[in-house]
Amino acid sequence: MKKKRRSIYIIIDIIAVVLSILLYGVPYYFVILNSLKDRTEAGLMNMKFPDTLHFSNYIEVLKAENYAVIRAFYNSIVITAFSLAGLVIVCSMLGFFMQRRAGTKLVEVLNFFILTGLMIPPAIVPTIWVMQSLGVYKTLRGMILVEIALQLSFGCILYRGYMASIPRELDDAALIDGCGGLRLFFSIIFPLLKPVTSTIIVISAIGIFNDFVHPLYFLPGKQNITVQTTLYQFTGMYFSQWHLLFADVVLISIPPLILFIFFNKKIVAGMVAGAIKG
């Protein structure tokens, strides 16, 4: 009886793995394979293995449009790095305040705004209008500030949740030693937030790097291209050059893949926590 059961489970296991390869493995294989074919072969969109592998497609796509993809990687990395730095500082402070002063009217109001920020998408044209009046429309600075504003809710929720595990006795001790609020926060509390800080960095990095909608609206212009907008431009330009399009797809999927390999558990746990506590 037990043996029979075990063999049933092995069969189920095998079926599940085969299905996962069909549903999830095939699309990846298809894209990578076709990114290595020449133009005509890739246009056929099939899964046949080509006679020669054209790794030069990757060089070609990097050179395309006057090195647009390299420019795009530079811009995306700048936006992501500065947004993350801003997010970590701003959200940790907010989370600290919101957890320590929980229950007050002010925090209730903040909670409401956090929820609003999670649910409601930004109003497109009014945001452009605000950015224009401040002179940051079509600038990386402006894009960074918008990304911080839009990712802020998620970061706050995670910091607020984690703060609860940091004992208030620490604050009291600091008070007795004559520590001010800022010093207490930056030299004692903030270093203790490291685990959640790294979670937020990894998850927001992926979110900002993969963001397409907001750069499309708030960062137009050739010089301002980001990795996701290169993809969009190439779909228009290279409609018949699937090999280059797929090469670009593979290139821009590498950073999230690397993060996933190293931080798999952290990413899953952080995203689940953000979803449940939101």
């Binding site: 705004f113 109003a123 604050d171 397409f212 779909t235 999230p256 449940i276």
Partner: protein, 290 residues
Amino acid sequence: MLSEKHKKIYSPWFILPGGLIYFIFFLLPTLSSLFFSMTWWTLDKWEFIGFENFTDFFSEASLNISIKNTLIYAVLTSGMKVIFGLLLGVFLSSPAIKARNYLRSVLFFPNLLSTLAVGIAFQSLMHPTRGVINTALGYLGIKGPDWLGNTRLALYSVALVDIWKGVGMATVIYISGLASIPAQYYEAAIVDGGNTFDKFRYITLPLIRPARNSVIILSFIGGLRTFDLIMVMTKGGPGFSTHTMSYVIYKLYTNSLYGLSTAGNVIMFIFIAVLAFPLYKFITRTEVEL
């Protein structure tokens, strides 16, 4: 009650930097959209026209179809993620499944991929004559449909890709919810002579509610806001068949109809406020009852 000293170290100044950025770049545009949605607007100057933009939005076929499409899309994708996520979550929580860690990773990974990249891949996989999907169906003797070219099918095809990409997120939320159900409950059920189905029906289903609610809210709002996939896979076509609200907002924006585009934004806010906030309230209440 906090002492004065504590109030001083937990100073409201901590809110300032974040609050300022949030206010200027999110709240201010959101609030001003309420006004600009009632104007004829060129960014330099505006003219107040009352509710005209809204009546246009609801009366013009090319615009109001987007409301219908968005609702179909949101209900369909979130419904499927709720169901498949639960089934996969239960399946992948079973210790008897040896490959469960591998399967979880495989299901989850697409969440981290760029939506645009996924859209491009599926656009070619769904090619009506040469695409891999229809070629495979052809081997089985089935004539595959024109996934993205058929006006009646296109929206559902895009929704399918959305589910492909997002079901892993739903699954891991369910898995974490399942892990928090105490094992004693199941043991008690076995003592009482319950079978597998009883355990699922009377223990898992009621206790998984908080996780399910998170899945509903997350995927429903995601569905209402959907944009990237539509942009890259169908560009709203064929005809108006995949015009969703966020796509229409974009189209009006590129046509410099800023007031009307902003009205679209406001309608979307109202939808989310009317549908998602009460859902959230209702859901947090049912959690308390448990």
